[in-house]
């Protein structure tokens, strides 16, 4: 899985160096290429693409739990796919294949708002 817009190493969630607005960090935990995970990634990238016009910096990392199991455990990821979104102090968790686009957009919008 190739991550889209990988965040620079060492950057924390408060998103320094991304301008005045804190960046949004999205971590999508997937399980290899199982159907749910494939769908989630597809749905997410599609929605992100549609939101590209927004002046929000989003970093997306796709993590395969089979390749990095420890990360999954430390982040408390139980099910896959799980999307964890961080912005500042906010943290959202979405479980599932993100099939509901409008729901996903709404959540992302909520994350981006101050």
């Amino acid at each position: 899985m190739h991550p889209v817009d990988p965040p620079p190493d060492g950057m924390d969630a408060s998103g320094e160096g991304a301008g005045e607005e804190p960046a949004v960090y999205l971590r999508l935990y997937v399980a290899r290429s199982t159907p749910n995970s494939v769908r989630a990634e597809r749905n997410l990238t599609a929605v992100l693409a549609s939101l590209k016009h927004e002046r929000v910096l989003r970093f997306l990392e796709v993590i395969d739990v089979f390749l990095q199991p420890r990360r999954a455990v430390t982040e408390g990821v139980i099910v896959t796919p799980t999307l964890i979104g961080l912005r500042g102090d906010k943290r959202i968790v979405l479980m599932g294949d993100l099939a509901d686009r409008s729901q996903l957009e709404g959540v992302l919008a909520g994350l981006s708002k101050d």
């Binding site: 290899r32 199982t34 199991p69 455990v73 139980i78 099910v79 896959t80 796919p81 479980m95 294949d97």
Partner: protein, 596 residues
């Protein structure tokens, strides 16, 4: 819970005819009903209502295995945080620090509360993480506690099945023994479907239930399925006590009980005589009877005799306190105090109610095993049989089973109340297990009540069908031979009366005999006298005859002399030579001859 002796007794066992490998749980009683524990490397599901004890069961199992088999384990929770689990087990006498043991890994798999469901998901992530953890820790046992929380968040039952299957596959591939606990409410469609599916896909399914009754709560455990193994499938009572879960079952591992040939004194010598020496060692005896018939005294006599021999005895009483029993027995000359002091005799008094029969069982069993009891008395065992409790008979069976497996000899008393048929019925159930059955009853006659002891059944001995009178005196208990007259058994003053009557008759008979004898003697004497008289008469007659003969002789002689004289006179003129005095007779003879 922490069965320190588990390491000596409980090697994983293979039940007859099957090849499935099992691992002990270490839970007292459970390894017995499962014939060796849970299947190794397979999935076991434990289902039940909230609070039924599923988590305790699972936790107890993996901790036991950690301690006794040194197998690392992983506890994955979907419901309760580690802190809650710690406090839950704090009430047990387990060492709670065990949770800090490096061989015990805890995984918090609770779904974040604020998580939003956006579609279908699966537990691959979790399993991936667990795979790494298993590899790293070398865990051989894993618990998934409260997985229903996860399953319920899936959209439908199809997805549930999918995840359960995924879990099943993971378990088989990981070569780890797994216990999955699932809360069931017994209601709702999805709940039922879930339960059905679990029954289908698991290798072993255990059901824990808790029902609240009028007298408290009662818990049971039931093995609903065990692929590849025989198992005891009936619900069995469960007690959750200070040592954790205790399954109230003590079925021996289907081996024959140790058998003995020697007999133990009942404490009453005459009774021993009737029983070929006493109660057979390793057997069970039931003494039944109405209240006040001195069953307790009889049972405790057995204990006194046991302790006098040096055997260890345990007396379980539901009616009286220890000091009461000691006092009562001393009134019939049995002193229990020295045996208590020496430690040979333990007394368990369960006077307060509020405990369920299975709780009694656990306490009795614990004391029995701690003491290594040789002789056990339960007075009365009918205390465990009351209140229409469904497991009564089973618990009594288990107690007897337990004792017999250890080669202990058991005497139980039972109250047979005419009015309560359920008690009678249960007692008869016990009696089918009891090898010897003695019954003490009251026999009332002529306004008096005496105690009668009947041997109803005595396996392995010929026994008398007769009734004996049971007597309690300051010197102890004794049996008195029964008095049978005209087919009726008599005791007490009726007996004395009958004895006097018989004596009188006997005397009468003697008098009659004497009289008859006298009669005979008299007759004999008479006859003799007659004989004597006849003999006398004979003598006289004889004399008479003799006299007559003599008289005749005399007469003839006189006649002859006269004749001779006449002849003499005539010859004197003829100068006859002096005649030869031939006898007159000759002359006469000649004359006769000449003339004749």
């Amino acid at each position: 819970m922490m069965n320190e002796k588990a390491s000596t007794a409980q090697a994983p066992s293979v039940p007859r005819g099957r090849t499935i490998e099992k691992v002990i749980t270490g839970i007292p009683g459970f390894d017995e009903i499962s014939f060796g524990g849970l299947p190794r490397g397979r999935l076991t599901a434990v289902v039940g209502s909230p609070g039924a004890g599923k988590t305790v069961f699972a936790l107890q199992t993996i901790i036991n295995r950690l301690i006794t088999l040194e197998e690392p384990c992983i506890f994955v929770t979907f419901e309760e945080p580690l802190s809650r689990i710690r406090s839950n087990i704090a009430s047990f006498d387990w060492k709670a620090e065990i949770l800090d043991n490096p061989m015990f890994r805890f995984v918090d798999a609770r779904l974040p509360e604020q998580a939003v469901m956006t579609g279908a998901f699966d537990i691959d992530g979790l399993l991936a993480g667990l795979t790494a953890l298993v590899e790293e820790s070398g865990a051989r046992n894993i618990v998934f506690d409260g997985i229903d929380m996860l399953l319920s968040s899936l959209q439908d039952e199809r997805l549930e099945r999918q995840e359960l299957l995924r879990l099943g596959h993971w378990i088989s591939n990981s070569d780890i023994s797994a216990i999955v606990t699932v809360k069931t409410f017994g209601a709702g469609n999805r709940d039922q479907i879930r339960a059905d599916f679990l029954l289908y896909m698991t290798d072993c399914l255990i059901v824990l239930t808790e029902t609240v009754t009028a007298t408290g709560s009662s818990r049971t455990i039931r093995i609903a399925k065990y692929r590849g193994s025989g198992f005891a499938g009936n619900p069995v009572p469960v007690v959750i006590g200070s040592s954790g879960i205790d399954v109230v079952a003590f079925k021996g591992q289907r081996v024959d009980y140790p058998t003995f040939l020697d007999r133990l004194s009942s404490g009453v010598p005459r009774l021993d005589a009737l029983l070929n020496g006493g109660y057979l060692r390793g057997s069970s005896t039931l003494i039944s009877g109405s209240p006040g018939t001195s069953k307790t005294s009889l049972a405790v006599s057995f204990i006194a005799a046991a302790c006098a021999r040096g055997d260890r005895a345990l007396l379980v009483s539901f009616d009286e306190s220890g000091s009461q029993i000691v006092a009562n027995m001393s009134s019939i000359g049995i002193d229990l105090a020295p045996h208590i002091e020496s430690g040979l005799l333990s007394i368990c008094s369960f006077l307060s109610g509020g405990r369920s029969p299975e709780q009694f069982f656990v306490e009795i069993r614990n004391q029995f095993e701690a003491d290594r009891t040789d002789c056990l008395v339960i007075d009365p065992i009918s205390a465990l049989l009351k209140t229409d409790y469904p497991f009564s008979a089973m618990i009594c069976e288990n107690l007897l089973d337990m004792a017999k497996s250890r080669g202990a000899t058991v005497v139980c008393t039972s109250l047979l109340d005419q009015a309560s048929h359920s008690i009678e019925l249960s007692a008869s159930q016990v009696s089918t297990i009891a090898d010897t059955w003695l019954h003490v009853s009251y026999v009332a006659r002529d306004g008096e009540r005496n105690r009668a002891l009947t041997i109803i059944k005595s396996r392995g001995t010929g026994h008398s069908n007769q009734v004996r009178q049971l007597v309690l005196e300051a010197s102890g208990i004794d049996l008195v031979d029964v008095y049978v007259a005209e087919g009726e058994v008599l005791m007490g003053s009726g007996r004395a009366q009958k004895e006097a009557e018989t004596e009188r008759l006997h005397v009468l008979e003697q008098i009659v005999a004497e009289r008859q004898r006298l009669n005979r003697d008299r007759q004999l004497a008479e006859a003799r006298a007659q004989v004597q008289a006849a003999a006398l008469e004979l003598g006289w007659k004889q004399r008479e005859a003799d006299l007559l003969t003599l008289a005749e002789k005399n007469r003839q002689e006189v006649y002859r002399e006269a004749a001779i004289e006449r002849l003499g006179l005539r010859r004197a003129t003829d100068d006859l030579p002096p005649a030869d005095i031939s006898t007159t007779q000759d002359i006469l003879q000649d004359q006769n001859n000449a003339s004749g």
